[in-house]
């Protein structure tokens, strides 16, 4: 899975997207805190990046 993700990020980057907009997180059903932390950190990161210039439906 990690290998695919690394390649996907490269594709996004080459195609002109900010790879920071994509986040991969492992969290089991027993790891609520890890899940919450992952989501929070992603939200913080993409809020800083601002709206995606290629929003769907526009």
């Amino acid at each position: 899975m990690k290998s695919r993700f690394v390649l996907l990020k490269r594709l996004l980057e080459e195609a002109g997207f900010d790879p920071e907009r994509v986040h991969l997180q492992w969290a089991s059903a027993a790891e609520g805190d890890v899940f919450a932390e992952g989501i929070t950190s992603m939200v913080e990161r993409i809020t800083k990046l601002g709206p995606n210039p290629v929003r769907k439906g526009d």
């Binding site: 390649l7 996907l8 526009d58």
Partner: protein
């Protein structure tokens, strides 16, 4: 009944025409059933001749190449207007072709690179007089007009085109097979565990074994089986020039998904193995990928 046929060339290498002509004497089987009304590669009809024909007066229209110029777009729409059955002929027409890789950059950057910054150029200028002008990016032809059949390939083999033509002449349907190049490849396959990827000039290829098993990026597993596996059969890894089989929506996504499963190496090493991932995974079909289409949407918004 003799059917009227037109074959139009947009931005392309015209290799599809070469491939058709390579039928040689077998052409004689189909030619008596056809009346060529437009085919600039072979006969001297002009666009004006095509324009003067009445709508839907051509039985079969074959369009090769993609729309890099505004003239291409005009000719494509004209072919749709005049043809009863329109066929996207070759990977340029179906997916946008190799020139679709240009969609990674803005038109301005492409023009500057070619006309001003190329090593061989002195006193460069971007030509703009008496020219039709370029399109902002390559849009695959099927996203511009409707097609009745598609025949990918770079080029489609002589037999592919003959088969499609024969089906049309005899009023049979022509559907693409949902098989891959691997299904047609004679090499021996084992369970894949790739420790290292090689460029084609590195190492020694074992002629009897699967090229991907040996660490060469052979894309047969994600590519439609129409060509008869002619490259892997002679030990040249498949570059995926025919695009994916109908059941695969995004060629590159399928490829990275599969590579992730068979590569037995740290992710970072896998990443380093492909310095040009878009060029390697979308050789002729980047313009039809999700990534390129999203970028295209962004671009048209900007220019509005």
């Amino acid at each position: 009944m003799v059917k009227r046929i037109a074959l139009a060339q947009l931005t392309s290498c015209w290799g599809c025409d070469q491939s058709l002509l390579d039928l040689h004497l077998k052409l004689l089987d189909v030619l008596p059933s056809l009346d060529i009304v437009y085919w600039p590669a072979v006969v001297d009809f002009k666009v004006a001749d095509l324009e003067s024909m009445s709508n839907h007066s051509i039985h079969f229209g074959f369009v090769e190449g993609s729309c890099r110029t505004k003239e291409d777009v005009h000719l494509l729409k004209l072919m749709r207007q005049k043809s009863k059955i329109l066929v996207a002929w070759g990977s340029c027409s179906v997916y946008g072709g190799v020139q679709g890789l240009g969609n990674q950059w803005e038109l301005k950057d492409l023009l500057e690179r070619k006309f001003l910054k190329a090593d061989t150029i002195t006193e460069g200028r971007i030509p703009d007089e008496n020219l039709p002008g370029f399109t902002e990016h390559i849009t695959p032809n099927p996203d511009i007009v409707d097609f009745d059949a598609i025949l990918p390939g770079c080029p489609p083999t002589s037999e592919n085109t003959a088969e499609a033509l024969t089906a049309l002449i005899t009023s049979k349907s022509y559907d693409l097979p949902d098989k891959t190049v691997c299904d047609q490849c004679p090499k021996e396959r084992k369970e894949k565990k790739i420790k290292k990827f090689y460029r084609t000039h590195q190492g020694h290829i074992d002629q009897n074994k699967c090229l991907l098993d040996q660490g060469y990026l052979c894309l047969g597993f994600a590519t439609i089986g129409l060509c008869g596996a002619q490259c892997p059969t002679v030990n040249a890894p498949c570059k995926g020039c025919f695009g994916p089989p109908p059941s695969i929506k995004d060629h590159g996504a399928k490829i990275i998904s599969a590579l992730g499963a068979v590569a037995d190496m740290p992710p970072e090493e896998l990443e380093r193995a492909f310095p040009d991932p878009l060029g390697s995974f979308y050789f002729t079909d980047y313009a039809s990928s999700y990534l390129s289409k999203i970028r295209g949407k962004q671009r048209s918004k900007k220019t509005k």
